[in-house]
């Protein structure tokens, strides 16, 4: 009868077998993790962002703020109508624009523009912003998110592709150049 302290041949085989399974599991974990984390790694840097057109500049009268919609640049077959996104386009004058995300900077609800009072109001928790996107009142800690824009050949295009939230890289870009209050 083998001593409990010494390792029997079968005991060693069990331990080696377990070790082998551990190694196989670790090896399998690599592709599994890469698969699970693909939404994070795929968009490293700003890979999700692309320039998308909002239409002709002439569709946006000077001094007014209009709702525009665009298709998200990253489309999957099952996305359905969720690829459409709305944004607020404010044409200040000439080729000077501000393009605001529809999402409130508080918790992402869709803000509505009230032309008469020059305010954006959020229906969820009562965030309010001025016409230039800066915070007016309510729970938001900052102004509306802005998309980078370009005007070329009479078309206005914005750099979009990711839902703007307080933590996204696009939002961080905004904070470096706060909207002129």
């Amino acid at each position: 009868m083998p001593n409990e302290e010494t390792l029997s041949r079968r005991g060693l085989l069990v331990k080696l077998g377990l070790l082998l399974n551990g190694l196989v599991a670790a090896a399998l974990a690599v592709p599994v993790l890469r698969y699970v984390l693909s939404p994070v790694t795929r968009g490293r840097g700003n890979a999700f962002l692309q320039w998308v057109s909002l239409g002709r500049v002439s569709e946006f009268p000077e001094g007014e703020t209009r709702l525009a919609t665009f298709r998200n640049p990253n489309v999957m077959p099952a996305d359905g109508e969720t690829v459409a996104t709305a944004c607020w386009v404010r044409r200040i004058e000439g080729e000077k624009f501000q393009v605001f995300a529809i999402n409130c900077a508080h918790l992402g609800c869709p803000v509505r523009w009230f032309q008469q009072s020059g305010l954006f109001m959020c229906p969820c928790h009562g965030g309010v912003y001025y016409s230039d996107g800066s915070r007016a009142s309510g729970p938001p800690e900052r102004g509306l998110f802005e998309y980078a824009y370009k005007v070329k050949d009479g078309l206005i295009t914005i750099e979009a592709g990711e839902i703007p939230t307080p933590g996204t890289p696009t939002a961080a870009l905004d904070q470096e150049r706060p909207p002129c209050a």
């Binding site: 699970v36 984390l37 939404p39 994070v40 795929r42 968009g43 999700f48 709702l67 919609t69 998200n72 990253n74 999957m76 077959p77 099952a78 996305d79 359905g80 109508e81 969720t82 690829v83 459409a84 996104t85 709305a86 529809i102 999402n103 508080h106 918790l107 992402g108 609800c109 869709p110 803000v111 509505r112 009230f114 008469q116 009072s117 020059g118 305010l119 109001m121 959020c122 229906p123 969820c124 928790h125 009562g126 309010v128 001025y130 016409s131 007016a136 009142s137 309510g138 729970p139 938001p140 800690e141 592709g161 990711e162 839902i163 939230t165 307080p166 933590g167 996204t168 890289p169």
Partner: protein
């Protein structure tokens, strides 16, 4: 009859489960636990089984694709015989399950059942509660309507506030950069495979511990739990004053299970299924998304917290609450079990109940949110316009057109974000009104850029008329001192 008993014998020969089943069913429980207070755990299990059954039935038709989920719910509601009823059973079952789990938890807490040696049973229960809430939230996402879409946006905004890992967490949660097909697919996987699988395992563990450790005895004031003696005391109690669970205690569980199932079915028939609300089209922005019932308190809390406290509360709050619940049996593992000798326990429950109740009640009329259509829809009550000058009427028009009404009510109609203005002239002088309108402040936007001097003059003229008939409007006595009479007449 002989065939049945022969089949039974044949099975028993192979399975050998009869003895174990009988032993489990007839395990002795303290007589005083055969109480209506002890039926909530089994009721939660019964509703969970209802959810599994109705969930499988719904999955026969539901399409977990962002392009088709909403339409497949319409098919369930309108085209399939009694599809609406199965949806309603599942939806109401969800609400009942959250409610029963909460009631069960309160009962267990007040009866001191989390104390030695049932600490792990409590901790597993805490995770069962979290998973039940996870099922409720992911279920709302599968409805994939406007509320689900914007609810996911709120979830993403909360997740994005995690330091450093925020953006990665959002992408993991959404399955990509935006709320779209991948988002629904992963919530489907969570709701249908991951969380229910874990729930089944943990429910099994939870029940196993109830059997191994025995059901918590009815707490008697003065009977103190001590680690050294409890187990022996409990065995003594069960021996002296115990009875077999089946049938002594189980009949109440059975009756309550039937009652709960009937209540779920009655709600399903009477109120019908939940939604779906509008299509999940992000370009339809005329929407005011609301969470389901059991998350309404959170919706209210997020509106009422000061902005600077919000991120810490969102990120630290849940950790503190969950840690507190997990540590509870270790911090208070011994001592009195009876609620009669635990005033702090009773007060904590009352405090939590009153807070959650108040927040839920507030979310019913969202006083923090502007009323988006008040400016164009709510009439100015006649009594505020009677006998006013042209300028004052012009001011009433400015008041409506500039959307002041969205946040300020007149005659109980309009937004409640700002103070009601029925008697604003009593509180503020003309100069103060002008300053408030132009500069804003106290959570009011400044209107200086959006009002012409003529509009401001008209608006303030109107506001200055808003005082009850018997009360004088506010005046600046410092300015008017020279003209003021030495003694105010009538005092």
């Amino acid at each position: 009859m002989r065939v049945i008993s022969q089949v039974g014998l044949w099975l028993e020969r192979r399975l050998q489960l009869a003895a174990a089943t009988r032993e489990t069913a007839e395990h002795r429980v303290p007589r005083n636990t055969a109480s209506w207070f002890y039926v909530f755990g089994s009721a939660a299990l019964v509703v969970f089984m209802l959810q599994i059954a109705t969930g499988i039935l719904l999955a026969l038709v539901y399409v977990p694709s962002a392009a088709e989920a909403w339409s497949s719910l319409q098919v369930l509601n309108h085209d399939i015989a009694l599809g609406w009823f199965i949806r309603a059973l599942h939806g109401w079952g969800s609400n009942f399950m959250v409610a029963i789990v909460l009631i069960h938890m309160v009962q267990v807490f007040l009866f001191g059942a989390y104390k030695f040696p049932r600490e792990l049973t409590w901790i597993v229960g805490v995770f069962l509660l979290l998973m039940t809430l996870g099922m409720a939230f992911s279920g709302q996402v599968l409805r994939f309507d406007q509320d689900a879409y914007w609810g996911l946006g709120i979830g993403a905004s909360i997740a994005s506030r995690v330091p450093i890992l925020g953006p990665a967490t959002v992408r993991l949660m959404l399955g990509g950069p935006i709320i779209a097909g991948a988002t629904l697919s992963r919530f489907f996987a969570l709701h249908v495979f991951a969380i229910p699988g874990l729930l089944i395992v943990l429910v099994g563990l939870h029940l196993l511990m109830v059997l191994k450790l025995g059901i918590n005895e009815w707490p008697m004031p003065g009977r103190i739990v001590k680690r050294a003696t409890y187990t022996a005391d409990y065995e003594e109690l069960v021996k002296k004053d115990g009875a077999p669970f089946v049938p002594y205690a189980v009949w109440k569980d059975i009756f309550f299970a039937a009652f709960i199932l009937l209540a779920v079915a009655a709600c399903a028939v009477y109120f019908g299924p939940f939604g779906p609300s509008g299509r999940p089209d992000p370009t339809i922005i005329q929407t005011a998304p609301r969470p389901d019932y059991f998350f309404l308190w959170l919706y209210a809390l997020l509106s009422l917290l000061p902005p600077s406290l919000e991120t810490p509360a969102l990120l630290v709050g849940p950790v503190v609450v969950i840690l507190g619940l997990i540590l509870l049996p270790f911090l208070f593992g011994e001592g009195e079990k009876s609620w009669r000798r635990r005033p702090i326990a009773v007060l904590s429950i009352l405090l939590v109940a009153v807070s959650l109740g108040t927040l839920t009640h507030l979310s019913g009329y969202t006083p923090w949110s502007p009323h988006m259509n008040a400016w164009s829809g709510d009439p100015v009550p006649e009594r505020f316009l009677k006998g006013t000058t042209a300028l004052e009427r012009q001011g009433a028009l400015v008041f409506q057109v500039k959307q002041c009404r969205n946040c300020h009510s007149l005659g109980e109609l309009g937004g409640q974000r700002g103070p009601t203005l029925d008697s604003v002239a009593v509180r503020l002088t003309r100069d103060q009104l002008i300053r408030q309108v132009i500069q804003g402040g106290g959570n009011m936007p400044a209107y200086g850029k959006n009002l012409s001097p003529a509009e401001t003059a008209a608006l303030v003229a109107f506001l200055a008329t808003l005082h009850p008939p018997g009360q004088l409007p506010a005046r600046n006595w410092a300015l008017e001192e020279s003209q003021a009479p030495a003694v105010v007449p009538g005092r």
